[in-house]
Symmetry: C2
Subunit: 353 residues, 2 copies
DNA sequence: CGCGTTTACGTCGTTCGTAACGATA
DNA sequence: TATCGTTACGAACGACGTAAACGCG
């Protein structure tokens, strides 16, 4: 049994049992894979695949079990490679972030720009997904980091790091009667207008829906969109009053008036969720740190590598972080004192415990 | 990076950084290991070992991390091999059981005899250990099954299966005044005599000690021994009254009189603890089943392979199991209907999902 | 007849063991 | 001087890719 054989097995399984396709993906030839699989079956003493004629029809029951453990072997082997890349200070690589549109559009740009500045050779893959698909995708190994927000409940399925708190804002055309108010409208004032908000508000358990129900008021959604820009567009058209994340409004929206949302709409928290049982590259942690400069970088690393889950501080509010941000440049340099080994052969000495 | 390289790394670490010793253990030559480690270091890009002159001085910090993941890789790879051995119905192998002396001497013999009857080619290693060392040894991968007893608390550190309940008995010489009683003595009656019991009763938190403290009585231990036979010997000599597990008394002790222990001494439960995250050979489960025939064999396998922890039934009392035991021969045959694949090349067909 | 798998074969790289060398206590 | 790690070398094995054969739709 070799790592190569297991890699081929997984590749074939992930290619719909098409050996030729799998061969391309692992940069090898089809007869090579064929032979290695045969060799593995011979060593284990039973068939991994059920064949009809010469083509693979299905995994056998035992084959499916082996596949599961093969994935774990390769995962751990990958951990060693990642560890090594970190250790030798390799600055190239790829980073896949799975998140919602709002975060991708309004929260991440600044952080990703910072990462690209610190690690120019890292390819960042931003992978927008529906709210419900994010954590499964992280668990499935499709992403290195998930950025997700929730009101109240702590997300499950990984190492969870609170990044910042945020509130919703009410967005009205300047001409609208609500735009004349100086402070947050009440739930009742809000409830008399048709609203425009995120598609996720449609869901039965959404915090917007819950807040209205708790106040004994009807929630009238004129329309929903996945995208804050779309919401703004339709607010401008007079379709309704916008209710959206404060991160999504900026100086360019001067034709609209943003008011604080009623207190009854609870604060939300944006979290980073990191995969358990998988070593992350340094730049993945750097991304989290760029999003939450209030966290100690060493706490972060300990939370990921060790199993100690520190008691995270109550995260700051988004509106305060905008003010903090320029200062965060300084502590980045302060954190770079970690010793790095150069790669050269003669330079490998001295890398002691 | 190959599985061989990782195996060599672990072997060297487990041999106190003595490559020559490690080479012997993995059935290879010393230069072979030396070269493979060097190759691995080259691929990873940093030193795994700190060398002084030509001898290995210590693991580097990064090397220690790699070692940890290497163990996990090898563990998962071992799982595949174990899985395969089960799948192809290999009946040879070894089974290491770590347990206390009492269980090894009075509980396991019957079960191990049954295993050896069903799997004659399995070498059973019985590994007696002190109570506190058992679970660490299991966690360290030194054993396949731990058999351990406790009063009340459920053991931690693996998949826990309750086997049977048992009570303590009071053992007195026939001539002793306690021997004239027809029923269990009270705690007060017991407390006036010096007692002879297990060494573990010495510990502050032992259930014997707790029971006496709770009754407001003094526990006078004339002596303690690790071994029920020793306890009996000294009871015969009149050193004191024996308090020991009911499993340890049998027909041969007709010169002694065994009474039920006071109700204040709580019942104990003997548990099997199986390692998490490790596939076990069929005969390891067969051992557990032989010890607890009341458990469904399929529940057992599901508890081990799946992560579903079934709600185990309240285990029977040891004294009732002795009566049940002859009947347990029948259901063993009933459980052997599982299909096995022969090993031959042509016979590998038909092994479908 | 095209697609995909298997078989056959030649080449290349790697591993392994033996033997000699070097360093260290 | 004994022990242990490294280097050197030759033999054998194994992996890989090319090319051809085989089944199946």
């Amino acid at each position: 049994m070799t790592l190569t054989q297991l890699r081929y097995l997984v590749a074939i399984a992930d290619s719909g049992l098409n050996i030729t396709l799998a061969a391309g993906r692992v940069h090898a030839t089809q007869p090579g894979l064929s032979k290695q699989i045969k060799r593995l079956e011979e060593e284990l003493g039973f068939l991994l695949f059920a064949r009809r004629g010469r083509s693979l029809q299905a995994l056998t029951a035992a084959g499916a079990q082996v596949l599961g453990y093969a994935r774990r072997v390769l995962n751990e082997a990958g951990n060693i490679r990642t560890l090594a890349a970190n250790q030798r200070g390799d600055r190239r690589g790829r980073l896949t972030v799975v998140t919602t549109h709002t975060q991708a559009r309004h929260v991440l740009p600044h952080a990703i720009a910072a990462i690209k500045r610190e690690f120019p050779e890292v390819t960042v893959h931003l992978h927008p997904a529906d709210e419900g698909d994010i954590l499964p995708q992280l668990a499935g190994g499709d992403a290195d980091v998930a950025i997700i927000s929730s009101s109240g409940a702590v997300p499950e399925g990984g190492i969870v790091v609170p990044l910042f708190r945020w509130s919703r804002v009410v967005l009205a055309p300047r001409a609208h009667q609500l735009a004349l108010k100086k402070s947050a409208p009440s739930m009742r004032e809000l409830s008399v207008h048709p609203l425009v908000s995120y598609a996720s508000s449609q869901r039965p358990g959404s915090s917007l829906r819950r807040a209205f129900a708790q106040a004994g008021l009807d929630l009238r959604l004129a329309m929903t969109a996945i995208d804050a820009d779309l919401i703004k567009t339709y607010v401008r058209e007079g379709v309704g009053i916008g209710v959206l994340a404060e991160m999504a409004v900026n100086g360019e929206d001067s034709d609209l008036r943003a008011l604080p949302a009623p207190d009854a709409l609870p604060e939300c928290i944006t979290w980073a969720v990191l995969p358990r049982e998988r070593v992350l590259r340094d730049y993945a942690l750097a991304l989290v740190h760029a999003l939450a400069p209030q966290l100690d970088r060493h706490d972060l690393r300990r939370a990921v590598s060790g199993n100690a889950q520190p008691q995270w501080p109550n995260p700051p509010h988004w509106s305060n972080m905008q003010r903090l941000r320029p200062a965060s440049q300084a502590d980045r340099a302060a954190c770079e004192g970690e010793t790095r080994m150069p790669i050269g052969k003669s330079a490998m000495e001295g890398c002691l415990v």
